[in-house]
Every structure is written in C-alpha cells, then in structure tokens.
Symmetry: C2
Subunit: 414 residues, 2 copies
C-alpha cells in the first residue's frame, strides 16, 4: 500500500455499482457527509452517474452542493435504489489491458481525483481490487476504498453488509404477513415463498425471524447451502400437513439438486449475465408443480421479487444508520492513508448489539462468497437454528420516520 500517513489533497469520486438496495443511498449520504467533514483535504466530491461505465462516458456530477443540505441528505437516505445510477461493468485484467486503466486514470487526473469510493457488492470489489492493482504500477496517487453494499450479505471479512438488514426486514415482515394470510382458511394448502439469494441463503434464513416475535414461522426453510432433495421435501410437506392445514415454506431461488442443477433451472437455463452467473427463475413454480402432482392439495408459490432490494419504506433503521456510518468511515479511512481496502463491520456483541467499523484489504474479499455457516442450519437441512435467528435479529431492528407525500414516501432525485 502506497501513500500511507501522507496528507493527500485532492478531490473525491464516488460511484454506486451492482444491484439496487434500500440502503445504498444512505451509504452515499455517508460519503457525502464524510467528505464534508474533510473539506480542507477533499474540496470537491464528484459522483459518477451509472457507475464506472457512466464515468467512462463522462457522466459526472458535483455533489459538493449537498454538503450542508440536511433535508436533501435525509431524503436521500430514505430513497431506494442507486440514486446516482449503477452499472454491471466488469473491468478487464490490468495486466492484460493496461490501456483501459491508462484512459481511466487520465480522466481521474482531469478532475484531480485523489479519492475513489466505490459502493457495491462482490463484483464491485473486483473493480476496486483491479484498480488498486493497477495503481500500484503507476505514479498517479489515488486512494481507493470499497464500500460494501449487497442485500445478499455474502461478502467475506465483514459481519454483515449494508443493505442486507433492510432486505431481511422486508422479508421478515412480509413472511409474517403471509403467515397471517395463509392462516385464514381451514382447507389444506401449501404456500411456497421464493426468496432472492443465488449462492448464499442469508435472505431466505430471514424468513425465520417472525418465529422470534410470536412463535409462528415457516414450517421449512431450504437454503442453497444444502442440497435440495425432492423426496425429502415431499416427505417434509406431508409431515407438516398432518399437523396443520396451512403449510408455509421459504426457499432460496438458488437451491440445487444433488447433481448441481438449480431447481429453477428449467425456466431460463443457459442465459448468463456479464459476470457469468446463470439467470434464475422459478424454483418456487417448480416446487409448486411437484406438490400439485405428488400431493394434490391446494398449492401456490410467490416470489418476493424486486421489493427485497428496494422496499425503502420498510428499511431497517439499524441498517440505514450503519450505512451512513460506513460511508463516512470510508472517507476518514482514505484521508488517514488507507487504500485498497473495503470497509468492514465487526460485531462485538449480539445482546446488546454492538459493533466496530474497520477495514480489510480488498484482494482477500473480492470474488469470494460467504455462505450461511453450518451452525446456523439445522441437522436435517430444512430450517435454521436459534443461533441464526440471534445473529439476524439485531440487523432488522428499528424504523426510520419516513417522510410521506400524499400517502407515498418521498424520494430524492439528482
């Protein structure tokens, strides 16, 4: 790491990348607040529209004017989905395509960018790692910090990720409402709730949280960390139907059969996104068909869909407050000489909940997946444990006082 402990005066650039969350704008607000506090070192904060892709096409705005606008920042914090716009751009390998990075650095120089903050998930940390690696080979001085954001909670090196707590709260509340909805009739019925999470089951595990409140939760929870077995599933469903008429099951979109094939692979197999991930759709629909054919009772499935990442009206106050704090810390770390790091969270206690914010070298973080650990999954692989619920519960706590306009939450627009 270069530049440590040396005062580096220059402007900052912040971008949002990857999928939207309910908290990514709170992190942006934190970065804006952090730069405002470091104004003597960092006079101007630029925002890239549509991530690094938009920046490359010259789409940049000056965010300094929001430094002292508390009303605007507060509105930004209750606004879902990347307010600056986002992208899913995978950068080339710096050793194979140095020209790409030479152009990029030329643009940084034009704006005298000395601080670079990239708010994103796994793929965005790959961008941070590559940019850091390239900067090691040239003389241009710029500090690069990855600011975590992903509803998937699957980044390594951190207790949890900003955005996850709000998504988990949306899932917990929605499942608690679905449980009520499912309980109204006495006719035997199976309801399958499909929850986001390609590789890690954190979001699906959050479906268990209503149990902590009034003891009522889904009958089963199937995570991608365990092989999905068709016969064991049918046996589970039959067993639950003997106990009560309304069976509720939470599944991850990413559950796979023993041969590695996604349960939902039927629908859109083959198609892949720019990072090579397979598109997924329909594990719920597949299981719905299996129950209909094999058990024959009333059955329906529901995907919680986009609200999992953008239901800002139900954001976790804990998540939003931490997101702001993490954005601010990103700035102070960089001003203090840190570069090539991602901001991380270490939980020091669950009851009462307490944490410290630090950072880790991004090279050890990018392109890895943090799965739900074994101690959070029950032995039969069809539910989560008490330990898992204790881990999750503090992350969904608290509600922000949302500003509404005629019945709809107000959103911030650049």
């Amino acid at each position: 790491m270069k530049n440590q402990n040396k005062r580096l005066i220059g402007n900052a650039l912040v971008g949002q990348s990857g999928g939207p969350t309910a908290a990514i704008n709170a992190t942006l607000s934190g970065v804006i607040r952090g730069v405002a506090e470091a104004r003597e070192t960092v006079p101007t904060l630029y925002g890239m529209r549509y991530g690094i892709e938009g920046f490359l096409s010259g789409d940049v705005i000056d965010l300094s004017k929001y430094f002292d606008d508390e009303k605007a920042l507060s509105l930004l914090e209750q606004t879902p989905a990347a307010a600056l716009g986002s992208c899913r751009k995978k950068l080339p390998d710096p050793s194979k395509d140095p020209d790409f990075f030479r152009d990029l650095v030329k643009r940084f120089e034009e704006l005298n960018i000395r601080y670079f903050f990239y708010i994103g998930g796994n793929d965005s940390m790959d961008t941070v790692a590559k940019l850091t690696a390239y900067l090691e080979t040239v003389s241009y001085e710029m500090r690069v910090i990855g600011v975590p954001k992903t509803i998937d909670n699957d980044l390594v090196g951190t207790d949890h990720t900003p955005g996850f707590g709000s998504a988990a709260k949306y899932i917990a509340v929605t499942v608690s409402e679905y449980l009520r909805d499912c309980a109204v009739y006495r006719v035997p019925a199976v309801t399958i709730i499909e929850i986001m999470g390609r590789d890690a089951g954190w979001l699906t595990a959050s479906a268990a949280l209503p149990m902590a409140i009034d003891g009522i939760g889904p009958d089963y929870i199937y995570l991608p960390e365990r092989t999905f077995d068709r016969e064991a599933f049918l046996s589970d469903v039959r067993e639950a139907l003997k106990k009560h008429p309304n069976v509720v099951i939470a599944i991850s979109e990413g559950i796979r059969f023993a041969d590695g094939e996604y349960v939902g692979a039927g629908s859109q197999s083959g198609a892949k996104d720019v990072f090579g991930h397979k598109y997924l759709a329909g594990a719920g629909k597949v299981l719905e068909s299996i129950v209909r054919e094999e058990i024959g009772c009333k059955v329906r499935s529901a995907e919680l869909s986009l609200s999992q990442r953008c239901a800002a009206h139900l954001a976790s106050a804990t998540d939003l407050d931490e997101s702001v704090a993490i954005g601010r810390r990103a700035v102070s770390l960089a001003v203090d000489g840190i570069s090539g790091h991602m901001v991380t969270v270490e939980r020091t206690s669950s009851e009462p909940y307490a944490l410290t914010i630090g950072s880790s070298a991004v090279g050890a973080i990018a392109n890895q997946i943090r799965s739900v650990p074994s101690e959070f999954i029950n032995e039969r692989g069809n539910h989560v444990t008490e330990a898992c619920i204790r881990y999750l519960l503090p992350l969904i706590e608290g509600e922000r006082q949302i500003v509404y306009d005629r019945g709809i939450p107000k959103h911030f627009h650049f």
Copy 2:
C-alpha cells in the same frame, strides 16, 4: 324489511368471509366497538371462526371480553388477514334448500343471535342476500347487515370498499419503489408488474399514483376493462423504448384478448374456484415472453402477489379509520332497525376529501361488478386519466403508527 323501528334485544354474531385484506380486522374492531356502545340492546357479541362454514361446525367465540380492551383493539386494527378466520362457502338457494337455512337458524336461536354482521366482498354479500331472503319467510327475528370488504373495490352502491385503500397504497408505494429500482441502469429493459384484479382494474389503476407525487409513473397501464391487443401492446413498448431505456408497465391479472381469453389463461386454464371463477396466473409471464421474442430487449415480470391483500405494515390510515367507522355503523344501523342492507360510503367531496356512511339493500349489490368507468381510462386504453388519480389519491392517505416488536409489526391473535 321486517322489524323496522322495533327494539330488538339479543346477541350479535360477526364473521369474516372471502379473501384477506389489511383492513378487515379494523372493520371487525369497529363491530366490536359498535356492539360495546349498544351493550344494553346487544349484551354479547359472538365471532364465528372461519366464516359461516366454521359457524356451522360450531366454531364460535365470545368477543365481548374485548369491549374495553383498547390495546387489543388497536393491535387487531394493525393485524392483516381475517383474525377470526375466513371461508369461501357459497350458500345454497333458500328456495331450493330450505333445510340448510332451517339448521342455520336453529343455531342462531341457540345463542339468541338477533344481529348478524358479515364482513366480506361480493360473494359474502350473496350470503347476506340469501339469508335475508330466507328470514323473510320465517318467524325468527334477526337483523342482517353486510359489511363491505374487498381489495378489488368492485362492489356496487358504494364509492369504494374497506381494504381497497390499503391495497392501493401498497401498490402505489411498491410501484414507486420499482420505478426507482428500474431506473438505475442505462440498458434498455422492460419491467412488467402484474397486479391483482380479476374483473375490475381498480388495483392496477393505483399503479398510476406515484405520478401525482413526483411525475414519474408507469409508461402504460392495461386494465381488464379494455380488450388487450398484442400488436398495440408491442407498438406501445417500442414507442416507449425510443424515449427512455427503462420501460415500466402495469397490467391487471385479468386482462383478456379480443376473443375473451385471459392473457394469462395458458398457465392454469380450466381450474375454477367454488364460485366458478377461473384461477388466473401468469399474464405478466406471457407478456414477458412476447416482449422477449418480438423485441428482444432485457425484460422481466413481477407479480405483486399476496402482499396486495395483507401488507398491513403499510396500511392506509384513511382506510383503517373508515373501516372501523363502517363496522361501528353496521351495528348502529341494525340496532336502529335496518336489515338486509350493506353499509355504503358516499363521497361528498374529493378535495378536501369528505364522505358520509349509509346503507343500501344488499339484493341490488350482490353478484354485480363495479368496473373502472370510461372517464377514468384514456382514449387509447393504455393508461388512466387525471380524474382517476383524483379519485384514488385520498384513499391511500395517512399512515398509522404501527407497534413493532424487535423489527416486526406485532399482530393480534385470538
């Protein structure tokens, strides 16, 4: 109508029927409050578990103990989905199966039920009408009141129905969040949001409400009141894609082609519920395929699913307050001698919003559908009008202060 103006002393029975809503328990709370106020005439209030079907199997509880429990009633009002349980029981024709009604009345006599309140939608008003017709032919004195409840807003004789405002608010807020989510990338993409409403487009029309707040709304809104034309739809989508990359479309699950076939009929055609309605699923998925094949851009569809009827955390305060008032009014109308009526709402002004609560003979209401009128749909049949937005807006106003327990709204349990 019998019994008018005569004081009738006896107990009351209340039931919830049909699909859940976020406000049906507020109406139940209103009935409980109303009976508490009429205690000298109506000493005991019984609740039927699982509607008329549960009542027939003897599943009845005494609700009188909640008369003075303000905390419990307030919790009941923030709890989604029929707390008493519900059913989808279609009663026989009284002239064809008088034995059924004889048994029913025998059960009423056993509990000295003189007031019968049935909270439900169209099919439940059918129950109220049949019971009323039967009672005209026998000597047993009982007053019967239908208390409206349906997220579909399709009951005739009333400006709107309890439960609709909360569902409309959920849809408006969710669509406003989807619009933000859809705006983050610059890649051309079409998002299709499928909204409940088999025959009437009221819920789908609510997707337009974000436009009133910040001028941003879906590009198109297709209601079941207009024939869905595949070519006009594709031409609409192509036109919108020329203007901006992120096209958002709201469709009703009940849209049909010119031949009367549901757009979503492919998936589950043939299956019908006990009232003879076709099950619907997948209009969004069908349109998603059409866009993928014919236009070839990125496209996805999402069903708002069960949350439309149970997202109590986002209930409209206007809806909940009116639901309580309507429940109370049901009781006072009956005590004053009214029977065979449904409680109705007449809007006296939209700006400022004002209404009066009255009642109408249920015979003129049951088994009819109130569609979205022509003046609320634009000429091309692909969006709603300003007049429609003005009608809808007051119904979603206001937020209740929800009581949370560790991040999740608390629910009431009998």
